[in-house]
């Protein structure tokens, strides 16, 4: 407990059990806020939501066996999205390890592929040291999850805690931070020579708290800028160089810009398959500058012509300075911008408005933007609603868009909102949920009520697991297989059963007003919004195809 305090921990999410009884006993007097979640997976995602909203390390506790295995999805999620988190699990007593004891699970072994690092305590005197090392590894370099597994008998031991004075030193862990200045100079010159450059930014910019630095770079010239799902908000959606998100459900302009660019400046992004589509046809004309804190990301999927390993917060100002010093003629970008503006005009994001009060899902996101003045911290589940939010909400600030990008974990949104609200109690925290996803972790509504965490759940209810349905419609001849949600609960009653407020909206004209009321209401609210059932999310790059094969929404026949 003392080591956790020394790390500045204030909030912990978790559930007690047999093997972490000693830890929970110590918790009584330790002075942390402990949020007693209703399922360990929820605790794990709440720790992630906390970390993503605040930039600080999220902490979750679970007991051994099933408690620990319930955390696995959240740990894998935190690994894929580089979320600084520390998971502390109880383990059976030392003498029971390896005997298939009651509630024993080899959580260290189970999570090896999904952790940045992990420790199992074998001597109670290691605990303070391991806690500090865990926080150090989780929060530095490319952030990620660290697991600390403590056998029950060892967590009972009475040990002295000496306040740590020197920084953590791990002989095999030396993350790079400053980029190589020579490489930065070459990069600046390459950008100066590019006629069709594009900045392609990712979650790494958000993790590095380098949003300001990115905006400075973008302002150094008229560089068009696009971002992955994870990087939204680092550059404001209202900014004039913004092309929209790229990738499978990105804008036509962003994807065609990548396809036609002569130079891609990738910053904290990892050329994931949802971005590149068919790898061999990705950005065929482009040279690549790749800035990333993790050297293993460079040239992993797409070869980098100019690699720069470093922290975006330190590298970007240098790059901006070097670029400005070159005093390049900005008119060289005129033709490029003319082309981009043309695409933007001809291929905007669009949908057919609903008739007779029908709520189109895209309209719901726009209404949500208006009701929250675009300022809410939005968490999301995984599916169509997530993509529509990414397309239509227009994020202006980093750490305001919290979702599961890499692992794509349905049921992430509500517990993540719990964590985000704990981290940022003064912000509106809205969980944009899908009906397929929400039910996977809806037990956390009980946490919201019991712990007085007033998150607002805006449920985009279309009666389907919509994204899967869309794929079945488009690529599997509309043979719907297990995608209808059928007998979903009455969400209003469900909210009320948990002691939260339930609301419903079925008419587009009333939607924004209802949302405002939900935001103004005390306590947690679940707003069930009935949207058009079989709306598809466009534009879309069909799986395994290239950006130029992007499919747009079919035009309505009038």
């Amino acid at each position: 407990m003392e080591s956790l305090k020394a790390e500045g921990v204030e909030n912990i999410f978790g559930i007690p059990g047999g093997a972490n009884l000693p830890t929970y006993d110590a918790l009584v007097d330790a002075g942390f806020r402990h949020i007693q979640v209703r399922h360990e997976q929820g605790g794990g995602h709440a720790a992630e939501g906390y970390a993503k909203a605040s930039g600080r390390v999220g902490v979750a506790f679970a007991t051994s066996g099933p408690g620990a295995t319930n955390l696995v999805t959240a740990i894998a999620d935190a690994m894929m999205d580089s979320v600084p988190t520390v998971f502390i699990t109880g383990q059976v007593r030392t003498e029971l390890i390896g005997t298939d004891g009651f509630q024993e699970a080899d959580i260290l072994g189970a999570t090896l592929p999904f952790v940045k690092h992990s420790f199992q305590v074998t001597d109670p005197r290691q605990i303070p040291e391991y806690v500090h090392e865990a926080f150090h590894v989780a929060s530095t370099g490319r952030p990620g999850p660290v697991l600390l597994d403590i056998p029950q008998d060892l967590s009972r031991a009475d040990i002295e805690y000496a306040t740590r004075t020197e920084p953590v030193e791990l002989p095999g862990y030396k993350p790079m931070s400053k980029g190589n200045i020579k490489q930065v100079r070459i990069a600046a010159k390459a950008i100066a020579n590019a006629k069709r450059p594009i900045l392609y930014t990712g979650g790494g910019v958000v993790n590095a708290n380098a949003s300001e630095e990115l905006r400075e770079l973008a302002a150094a010239d008229r560089f068009p800028i696009t971002s992955t799902l994870m990087g939204l908000g680092a550059y404001p959606a209202s900014g004039e160089s913004w092309l929209g998100m790229l990738g499978m459900h990105g804008t036509v302009t962003a994807n065609w810009a990548m396809d036609n660019a002569d130079l891609i400046v990738a910053i904290g992004a990892r050329f994931d398959d949802r971005i590149t589509g068919k790898l061999s046809e990705f950005a065929p004309h482009a040279k690549v500058i790749h800035i990333d804190i993790d050297p293993a990301e460079i040239s992993k999927n797409i070869g980098a012509h100019i690699p720069i390993v470093g922290d975006a917060k330190l590298v970007l100002p240098e790059l901006t300075r070097e670029y400005r010093a070159l005093q390049t003629d900005t008119t060289r970008l005129d033709a490029w911008w003319k082309q981009l503006r043309e695409w933007q005009q001809q291929h905007p994001l669009r949908y057919e408005p609903g008739v007779d009060g029908e709520i189109k899902p895209q309209f719901m996101i726009e209404a949500m933007h208006r009701a929250t003045r675009g300022e809410a911290i939005v968490t999301s589940d995984v599916g169509q609603h997530q993509m529509w939010a990414a397309q239509y909400y227009g994020f202006e600030q980093p750490r305001h868009w919290i979702n599961s990008g890499g692992l794509g974990t349905m049921g992430f949104g509500l517990p993540a909102a719990v964590g985000a609200k704990v981290a940022c109690p003064d912000d509106d925290v809205v969980c944009l949920a899908g009906d397929g996803s929400l039910i996977m972790n809806c037990q956390e509504l009980a946490t919201c009520v019991a712990e007085d965490i007033p998150v607002k759940v805006f449920l985009m209810n279309n009666g389907y697991m919509g994204m899967v349905r869309q794929w079945q419609e488009l690529f599997w001849d509309r043979r719907y297989s297990s995608v209808e949600m059928g007998a979903s609960p009455d969400w209003v009653k469900l909210a009320e059963a948990f002691g939260a407020t339930g609301m419903r909206c079925e008419n587009a004209d009333e939607l924004e007003g209802t949302m405002v009321r939900a935001l103004e209401a005390d306590g947690p609210v679940l707003l069930d919004v009935r949207v058009a059932q079989e709306e598809n999310c466009y534009p879309m790059i069909p799986p395994g195809q290239a950006a130029r094969d992007m499919v747009e929404a079919p035009k309505a026949v009038s």
Binding site: G172, K189, A190, N193, I298, K300, G303
Partner: protein
């Protein structure tokens, strides 16, 4: 051309370095001697689809540090990616991709062969040519120890196989840099 002018970097002159070396690589990896380290390394290889050809683990002169020597095929794996992923493991201290010309690599193998009385002389002769040692003899078998490069061991295997190879055990290569370093 003046320093500071952008003309010094032309986009068309930029190239991505080749990823596949096309040769065998010996990686000499120093790791912290802690529980689970080998599982982390083995797990990393299987998860990323890298194939280990040989693997040898042993102590070093420092009891807190172990050495893992592994070989893999640079024709199928981008070695750069393998070493970068390995470096991300916190318990990995140092990785050296041994240059073939500057490295002495050795492997030991033991061969148990059928050795009827009439073929023994020939087997002993082979062993002498390969500077191998006969370390065990029974009425029907001989066991021979061979040390050398992987090529030499494979050559010996080809020679001895026609006599009836009962079992072969190989250690996997270990390697050390040549000369003062």
């Amino acid at each position: 051309m003046e320093a500071g002018t952008p003309q010094m970097v032309k986009l068309e002159d930029l190239h991505v370095p080749g990823q596949l070396s096309g040769r065998k690589h010996i990686l000499s990896i120093l790791v912290e001697n802690k529980p689970g380290v080998l599982a982390r390394i083995a797990g990393l290889f299987s998860r990323r689809g890298f194939n280990i050809d040989t693997l040898a683990v042993g102590p070093t002169d420092d009891p807190s540090v172990s050495r893992i020597t592994l070989t893999l095929d640079g024709a199928v794996h981008p070695i750069d990616q393998v070493t970068k992923q390995l470096h991300k493991l916190v318990n990995v201290l140092k990785i050296r991709d041994m240059e073939p010309e500057e490295t002495v690599a050795r492997e030991m193998a033991m061969f148990k062969v059928s050795a009827a009385v009439e073929s023994r002389a020939e087997i002993i002769q082979f062993a002498e040519i390969f500077r191998a040692k006969i370390i065990d003899v029974s009425r029907r078998t001989m066991t021979i120890e061979v040390t050398g490069s992987a090529d030499k061991i494979e050559a010996f295997e080809r020679m001895i196989r026609p006599h009836g190879l009962i079992e072969m055990v190989r250690t996997g290569e270990i390697a050390i840099a040549r000369g003062g370093d």
